[in-house]
């Protein structure tokens, strides 16, 4: 247990010392500022056009979902980019030699690092998520429903991506790991949007293709579930919105993502334990 805490603590310290945390937060602050300005301009536009409150609410809800989707994308990409080198890099450079020969089991090294990154990603999601919701509430008075459920689903999406970077990091070099994880993330993105678009088009074949993609990499389906949870039924029913409730991943999809995460992490631990360093 001690080894896990030491490794997790070192992960935080690395992120802080190498300015990763501060740069990520600065980028998010900039994002929030742009989001706020966009909302403000939109609001002025609505006033000048005397738009009906119903349509106005729908558009503002849609804009909030766009903001939260950017939070989701940024959180996942930052989780991948910050963690991609942690195992692969230390194995290839030999940094791991002086660490793995200490009285700390290899699984503790891996779980310690994993915990550090997951906590950092979670803090990042909570801060940017709350920031986006606060800006929307302050400027246009629109807030999502089931905020906690939505944030937890985004954190689970980060955990899924993280488990994959750790798993591939025990096998491949940093660069190969990055290429593979980002390609799989792109695959999930494509699958999720295929399902969404085909939902509009009522094409069962494309829906099936999207589901298969989500089974291979379930990240994006978690976002779509989060979008469903956070939107009011009225806002979700808008057919022109990219986040409309046309193809909603079920609770089984969420459970599948949890199992996927657990299996990826378990294989990562097993392979890191079994391989030569």
């Amino acid at each position: 247990m001690n080894g896990i805490l030491i490794m997790a603590g070192m992960t935080f310290r690395e992120a802080a010392r190498r300015k990763i945390i501060w740069m990520a937060l600065a980028a998010s602050a900039l994002l929030l500022a742009i989001f706020g300005v966009a909302l403000r301009i939109q609001m002025d536009e609505f006033r000048s056009r005397a738009m009906s409150p119903f349509l106005r609410f729908q558009i503002e809800s849609g804009m909030l979902m766009v903001g939260l989707y950017i939070v989701d994308l940024l959180a996942v990409v930052m989780t991948i980019l910050t963690s991609i080198d942690t195992l692969a890099g230390e194995i290839s450079s030999g940094t791991i030699h002086a660490i793995a020969t200490k009285p700390v089991a290899r699984w503790q090294i891996l779980i310690g690092k994993f915990t550090g990154f997951l906590v950092m990603s979670s803090v990042y999601v909570v801060l940017t998520f709350c920031g986006t919701v606060a800006v929307s509430d302050w400027l246009v008075g629109v807030t999502p429903q089931h905020v906690v459920r939505g944030a937890l689903l985004i954190i689970l999406e980060c955990a899924v991506a993280l488990s994959l970077t750790f798993l591939l990091g025990t096998w491949f070099s940093t660069l190969t790991n990055g290429v593979l994880v980002l390609a799989l993330q792109g695959f999930a993105f494509l699958g999720g949007w295929l399902e969404q678009v085909s939902g509009f088009a009522q094409s069962q074949k494309i829906v099936t293709l999207g589901i298969v993609s989500s089974l291979i990499m379930p990240g994006e389906s978690l976002w779509r579930r989060a979008a469903y949870e956070m939107q009011t039924p009225l806002a979700g029913s808008l057919s022109f919105s990219p986040f409309a409730n046309v193809s909603i991943p079920s609770g089984v999809a969420v459970c599948y993502a949890l199992v996927f995460f657990a299996v990826m992490l378990s294989i990562a631990i097993y392979h890191f334990h079994a391989r030569d360093l």
Partner: protein
């Protein structure tokens, strides 16, 4: 393999009485990898503190131990400096500090003097002597045979993963000694007389070489030469160097 970095393909290995893959036994083991890499965004003190914590030391005991061990390896003036700016020699000293911070019973050092200047090499030798004096066993892996010669009391030669020879460097008096004598007027009769103490006798261009059966007979040899009328200018006795032994045991480099 003894540190579980590489898995054995078969068989068992024990370290300090415990299986080599036992995590707990590593509390008593220190290790300096050949190419020591580190978190270069830490300061020297933070890095040693981190390795000390991983080795099972408490934060309290490390408060005193970290400056101590950095002083030992000559890095005290750089204790709060980021490792990123360290030279190769300083990093080697830092690697040694992390291997010694928890005062292990068994220490594995892989090429500990590579990258060090002569002063640094002497410092490593002194540190290793101190470790030996406090009762630790040091495994020194090196290709610098002159370093091993002055540091170790026992050496094994490994070829293709197998121990092919073992030599006790502390045993000296009874071993054969090669002697080189710079002398004139050495007659055939004098050379014949040398055979009672030595073998492989050769005399050419005022240079006499022979292998004495032990260091104890050398004074008799010198007396014999003088008594027979030889003019002796220089008399040097030397044990075969580790390098000669290495070449003899491992064979000449086939040229890769």
């Amino acid at each position: 393999m003894l540190l579980s970095l590489v898995k054995p393909t078969g068989g068992d290995a024990y370290v300090l009485g415990a299986p080599a893959n036992d995590v707990e036994v590593r509390r008593h083991i220190g290790f300096l990898p050949e190419d020591f890499r580190f978190y270069d965004w830490l300061t020297a003190a933070e890095l040693i503190h981190f390795h000390g914590r991983l080795s099972g030391m408490s934060a309290n005991s490390l408060r005193q131990r970290v400056p101590e061990v950095l002083e030992l390896v000559g890095l005290a003036p750089h204790i709060n400096r980021r490792v990123r700016g360290f030279s190769k020699g300083m990093l080697q000293r830092l690697g040694l500090a992390q291997a010694l911070v928890h005062e292990p019973k068994l220490i594995f050092l892989d090429e500990p003097t590579s990258g060090l200047d002569p002063m640094g090499r002497r410092m490593v030798r002194d540190i290793l002597r101190m470790q030996r004096e406090r009762g630790a066993t040091v495994f020194l892996n090196s290709h610098l045979l002159s370093e091993i010669e002055v540091t170790c009391n026992r050496v094994v030669f490994i070829k293709d993963g197998e121990v092919v020879a073992e030599q006790d460097l502390s045993a000296d008096a009874s071993e054969q000694v090669r002697a080189v004598v710079n002398a004139r007027n050495v007659s055939e009769r004098t050379l014949d007389g040398l055979a009672q103490w030595s073998t492989a006798i050769a005399y050419e261009n005022d240079r006499l070489m022979f292998t004495a059966r032990s260091r104890h007979v050398l004074p008799d040899v010198l007396r014999h030469l003088v008594a027979c009328g030889a003019d002796v200018y220089e008399f040097t006795a030397k044990r075969p160097s580790l390098e000669e032994l290495f070449v003899k045991i491992m064979g000449e480099d086939p040229g890769l």
